[in-house]
């Protein structure tokens, strides 16, 4: 189809769907109202399991199965991206060269930020049941923090800090721990992902039972997974030599 025809078909569809959506929105409960039945159940449930961060309680306790699926999506996508970005038959890996110039101020900034970012990431993971954050958020901070060594240093520097196979193990370990904790709940409490650990005291670090444990497992998986993911893209750009293929 030509671009014009395609756009016309889109406009027809968009007009129709837009109208349907507006008609539906007009029948939604008023925006900002206080009618939230699920919230009214989820908050007491979180408090009963000694979890001040209700979002984390929903994620790792009340609707933990969603999160099991979610972290598996991440695992599968990271694996999928590494599979898709593997070197082709005619491509070779080459050693990256330490080229390019980094401003002194960038270098300084990077090395100051690195420990801060890693500490912040760990903090966000470990306090996910108490304060805003959790395994996903903290894991991403950890992984991107690590890449400051690339921004402020060089690719070889990052590679020294990041043997990818270790991170693949860590990713499998994090995801596996999540599943295994779920199965342990099944064995001890007859329910997948049951909160079988001691609940502890409200607003204490070691509290909320499996919420903390699952959050840490997720943090491990997400941090490692994002590192592996970025490694696949970086290797593709920096290390894979497809010049022969282009010539052929």
């Amino acid at each position: 189809m030509s671009r014009g025809v395609r756009t016309l078909i889109f406009l027809a569809g968009a007009a129709g769907l837009g109208m349907l959506l507006v008609l539906a929105f007009l029948r939604c409960p008023p925006f900002g109202g206080d009618w939230h039945p699920y919230r009214d159940m989820a908050v007491p449930a979180a408090l009963a399991h000694v979890t001040p961060n209700v979002v984390s309680s929903v994620n790792f306790d009340q609707r933990g199965l969603d999160t099991l699926g979610e972290e598996t999506i991440l695992l599968g996508s990271v694996l999928g991206a590494t599979v898709l970005l593997r070197p082709g038959r005619h491509e070779t890996r080459r050693e990256p060269q330490d080229v390019g110039r980094v401003l002194q101020v960038t270098r300084l900034g990077g090395y100051v930020m690195l420990p801060l970012a890693l500490t912040l990431g760990l903090d966000v993971v470990i306090h996910g049941h108490l304060t805003p954050g959790g395994g996903f958020q903290g894991g991403v901070v950890l992984a991107t923090g690590l890449h400051l060594t690339y921004v402020a240093g060089s690719y070889p520097a990052l590679r020294r800090l990041r043997p990818v196979s270790w991170y693949e193990y860590a990713e499998a370990l994090g995801a596996g721990t999540f599943s295994v904790l779920g199965v342990v709940g099944l064995v001890t409490s007859a329910a997948l992902l049951a909160n079988f650990l001691p609940l502890g005291q409200f607003q204490q670090l070691f509290s909320s039972g499996t919420v903390l444990a699952l959050s840490v497992a997720t943090g491990c998986e997400v941090a490692a997974g994002v590192v592996v993911l970025l490694a696949a893209f970086l290797e593709q750009t920096i290390m894979i030599d497809s010049s022969r293929e282009r010539a052929g």
Binding site: I9, A24, S179
Partner: protein, 620 residues
Amino acid sequence: MATGFAAFGTALPALGIAVPLVGACLLLALDQVLPRVAVDALAAVVVLGVAVLMGALVAITASGRVVSWAGGWRPAGGVSVGIVLVADPFGAGLAFLVALLTLAALLYGWQYFSHAEAHLPVLLLLFVAGMTGFALTGDLFDMFVFFELMGAVAYALTGYKIEEPESVQGAFNFGVINSLGAYLCLAGIGLLYARTGQLGLAQLGAALSGHPADLLVLVAFTLVATGWLVKAAAVPFHFWLADAHAVAPTPVCVLFSGVMAPLGVYGVARVYWATLSGTVSAAGVQRALLVLGVLTATVGALMCATQRHLKRLLAYSTIAHIGLFLLGVAALEPAGLAGSALYLAGHAGIKGALFLLVGVLLSRYGCVDEITLYGRGRGSRALGWLYVVAALALAGLPPFGVALGKAISEESLAATWLAVVFTAVSAVTGAATLRAGLRVFFAVGPPPPEHHDEDVTTGEREEREVEPAPARTPPTMLVAILLLLALGLVTGLPAVGSAAGRAAERFTDRAGYLDQVLHGAAAPAVPTPHGAAWTALGAGLGVLSAALAVGLALLVLYAPRLPRTLRVAGARTAPATHALHRLHSGHIGDYAAWLLVGAVALGVLLALPGSAAGATGVTP
């Protein structure tokens, strides 16, 4: 002892999701150090374990649903913050089917499939977890999560052969269209949540019941159904399927065609019966399913008949058959649903076997083009006969499951014209499949002339999946093919038919579903329905469609020797076929535009007043 057995039963759905996940993580950690054979064996053992567990679940669900609340958040007063897993015979049966097909896929790829450095078995295990989760969860948002899990793994599996231009383009199209469909679906889930504050299918059903559906509920159902129908590849959401199936590794095609796409039909049926059957107008749902079903079956059959790329041909035949599954569901009564379920299971076996047979050709000749392969398969008569049997079974030859499912569906839709659609679509797709097989394996008919058309994908040069090309077909590949054919045969047994009939009664019992999930009520016994069995008429129609398929195939094969007037009449239809091919442009922008139009059409069909009962002869 009895309580221990019951506890084992309620643990099974959770294990169906957790076992492949743990297996995948184990394999991911070990596949760098283990030798190839151990990786394959470990994956096969895990999938075999899942198959045994899901088989047990199917057996247990025969006497009632298995309900288990993840996290132990059992409902109080009919509501809960948790997610429920609800296994009924259809959900459990699909999970069982997933495991069986994956086993066949792993067997086929055993030792021979090149997956060095590429984690193929791990991806397959994650795929199993995603599909099992989708089939067993009783929560709408959780369905979305597992839908996305299936999707994410499937995009990577589709693009697996990174050397092929077709492969990567197909994966991209698949990824974009499925994601866009999923987001529409999520918007629908959001709307239902805004209305009810619930996410569980049963909780939503309870909260919505008592009021006729207003526009919010209708639009929400439209959006959710659009998401599932994108997965099901109903026209006009179907464009991705041919692109993805044509390029994915052959063992993966078995799963894509056999169960992943059909899970979309299951999703629509599940959401309708568990949640909305008392709320939205049955006439509207029936009208929508009838229109989409007939359109999907027709377009799929026409596209199938005009393909020369063998995997694309099989992919379009899958689209055509999904149209027929939708028609079975459109009866909106247990018999039609039972027919669709049997049809789906039988089709999974037969279509899987056909894909693997084409995979054997690909591994030998590095080509899946019907015209180039003319007569090349003459050396392997055994494979040729297997292919012919599978093609006839696909066309509806008794006693295969496809025929039984087709017969039951046809009889549930009392309207004669729908029986004609069933027979015609089965005959045309069967004929196309048979035509290709007769050319390739038996060199029937004069050699087809080579002609180039830029709007046709040929499949002349494809990457071999097995390196080096085996001198003869490895026994594991043959076993996988025979296993799938056996599945097609077993689903045609009368006992399986009556089990499907009872399962459909259970599936459509909305009040029973709500009572058992939300209030722990025991499942009442369901009657063994009439109609879920072989009848002379059904078997006769099956034989008829298979005979028509043979006739049509021979007609096409010997077309050049036909009288000139007939050939001219055939050539007259060429412009229409060509226009249809041009619509399947491979352009992602086209696909997205059609997706929107399809969603709107679905909404209009659902919302229009009036009854579709006249068309089907069924009063919902």
